[in-house]
């Protein structure tokens, strides 16, 4: 069991049967009152954030949560197959768990997979991926104002809006959190 002195960012605890991770905490102590730790927990299954005051002396139950570095291998229908490089164990994870970023995943991409009671519950991609543009209409000459974009298809099949100067064969940097183009990468 944990008590308030164990609370730190990233601590994994079990509350009402759900796994949570501590995202923020603050020690609070009125001059003549009891101390507590005002803590924000993120539900590892739903992403919902809840705030709770943990009194000094109160106990928190550790959650059976494990974080493993795994490599993305290939897609199989709506599922993605990952491998733990330390023991070559393979795990199949539904694309739903990854959300819109799943179509930015190229073979061998290193990811972090969170397991709760041995079951994968969350996948974190690298913040940026570098992908080659495989299809895009040439930009219209003369239209060079800053914000104009055009759709492009990258090697994983995902569609990303890019500036007009991007051409087939360019490698671009994409933010996996927002699914947005960041910059062109010179080889």
């Amino acid at each position: 069991m944990y008590d308030t002195s164990d609370i730190r960012k990233g601590l994994k605890v079990l509350m009402d049967g759900n796994p949570y991770t501590v995202v923020e905490f603050q020690f609070v102590k009125p001059g003549k009152g009891a101390a507590f730790t005002r803590t924000k927990f993120k539900n590892l299954l739903t992403g919902a954030v809840v705030e709770r005051n943990i009194r000094s002396g109160e106990k928190l139950e550790p959650a059976n949560v494990e974080t493993r570095d795994m490599q993305f291998l290939y897609k199989e229908g709506g599922d993605l197959v990952f491998m733990d490089q330390t023991n070559y164990e393979q795990v199949t994870i539904s694309a739903d768990l990854i959300g819109s970023a799943h179509d930015l995943m190229k073979d061998n991409l290193p990811c972090t997979v969170v397991f709760f009671n041995e079951r994968p519950v969350d996948v974190t991609l690298p913040t940026f991926v570098f992908l080659e543009v495989t299809a895009s209409e040439p930009g219209v000459r003369g239209d060079t104002s800053g914000n104009v974009q055009k759709p492009a298809t990258v090697e994983t099949g995902a569609s990303v809006n890019v500036p007009l100067f991007i051409r087939v064969g360019d490698t671009i940097k994409i933010d996996t959190r927002t699914h947005e183009y960041v910059e062109r990468v010179n080889k």
Binding site: G31, A34, A35
Partner: protein, 388 residues
């Protein structure tokens, strides 16, 4: 290349030197003979010192950020202004022991055990003995220790200034507090304007005042009598939409509402505030108001949401003081907390006769935070707990 920060040891033309100025024109003084400094342009090729016996601060441990160095200089200026303030008002500076056999018995303050006794959580017991011994105006700046406290406004080891006036009312302490804060902030910041992250607070006296009951009524929608049983206060706090469990103690129910509604409202004020007339269950070492036994002669000073100071019209009755100590001991025992001995010498001093007195404890680190605009207590101490 190394940046040119005051106090940093550097090398100029291969010779050991210490930076004396700030930015722009940087004065350096070499060690050799300590001859008067040369003027070096900030753009000059200043290299970390590599030769000789002194390695210079090349590691993260040795280096302190520029803002921290500036704040430590401000802290020194604040301490000088504080001592000047008390000297100007004929207060005597005293020093009482930090290591004692009987620390404060307050339920929510845990002492650090050391050397067969405890480190003080506040110097008040010994300072009251000095009042009983005949001093009329005394102050003390010292370290206090409170186990397990660490947060943006809390450190287990911190600096307190306590001062007491014999033959005086609580109001005299309130005026001292306003003037002291204004004087210290002015000494550091140039004008009586304190800073908390994101805004400025005019600390010029006099400060607005509000009773605790009015604050609880206005911001929490909770009526506090002071003599109601705990379940009645729990019900009132719940009726105001604040979640408290069944069986919550009176003080915990009070602070649930106070922290949820009153503190955020106090933090939003653009002026300091003295929160006075505390309900009797929160009297601590304060005496009750003449003719109003449900109210204690106590105030707290809040500036920019920071609880800066706590003052009492001092309890001088040895019989009531012993009863409160015994009650505190019983509550500590019931809640499984360490039970400290009663300070019999303090009770003996009260029995001898303590003049009508008022006193206050003010957090010096928090005052320096307000004067410098630092966001955390760790930013104004020389080395925080995590840096040792």
């Amino acid at each position: 290349m190394t940046s040119v920060v005051r106090g940093r040891v550097i090398a100029v033309d291969g010779e050991l030197a210490i930076v004396r100025g700030e930015r722009g024109d940087v004065r350096v003084r070499t060690c050799a003979g300590w001859r008067p400094g040369d003027l070096v342009e900030a753009s000059a090729a200043v290299q970390p010192f590599r030769g000789g016996d002194y390695p210079g601060p090349t590691t993260e441990v040795a280096r302190l950020p520029r803002e921290r160095l500036a704040r430590l200089a401000d802290r020194g200026a604040a301490m000088a202004a504080l001592r000047r303030f008390f000297a100007d008002r004929d207060f005597l500076e005293v020093e009482t022991p930090l290591l004692v056999p009987a620390p404060g018995l307050e339920l929510h303050l845990d002492a650090v055990a050391a050397g067969g006794g405890y480190l003080i959580t506040s110097p008040e017991y010994q300072m009251k003995r000095l009042l009983a011994a005949g001093f009329e105006r005394i102050y003390q700046v010292c370290k206090c220790f409170r186990a397990g406290e660490h947060g943006p406004h809390h450190a287990a080891e911190f600096t307190m200034v306590e001062w007491y006036r014999g033959f005086a009312e609580l109001d005299a302490i309130a005026r001292d507090t306003e003037e002291l804060v204004a004087a210290v902030v002015t000494a550091v910041a140039g004008s009586p304007v304190a800073r908390v992250p994101g805004r400025a607070i005019d600390v010029a006296p006099p400060w607005p005042r509000l009773t605790v009951r009015e604050a609880m009524r206005r911001w929490a929608g909770v009526e506090v009598a002071g003599d109601e049983p705990a379940p009645a206060l729990v019900a009132a706090v719940r009726a105001a939409g604040i979640d408290v469990a069944d069986g919550t103690a009176w003080d915990d129910a009070f602070f649930a509402a106070f922290l949820a509604r009153v503190e955020p409202a106090l933090a939003a004020l653009d002026r300091p505030i003295l929160l006075e007339d505390w309900p009797a269950p929160l009297a601590a070492l304060a005496r009750r108001k003449p003719g109003d036994p449900r109210t204690a002669l106590r105030f707290e000073a809040y500036v920019g949401g920071i609880e800066l100071a706590n003052a009492f019209g001092e309890l001088t009755d040895p019989v009531e003081q012993r009863a409160r100590f015994e009650h505190d001991q019983a509550t500590r025992r019931a809640r499984g907390k360490p039970v400290y001995p009663i300070d019999e010498r303090l009770l003996a001093a009260l029995a001898e006769g303590l003049p009508p007195s008022a006193g206050i404890a003010l957090g010096v680190d928090r005052l320096v935070m307000l004067a410098t605009g630092a966001a955390t207590i760790d930013g104004v101490v020389t080395f925080a707990a995590g840096e040792l």
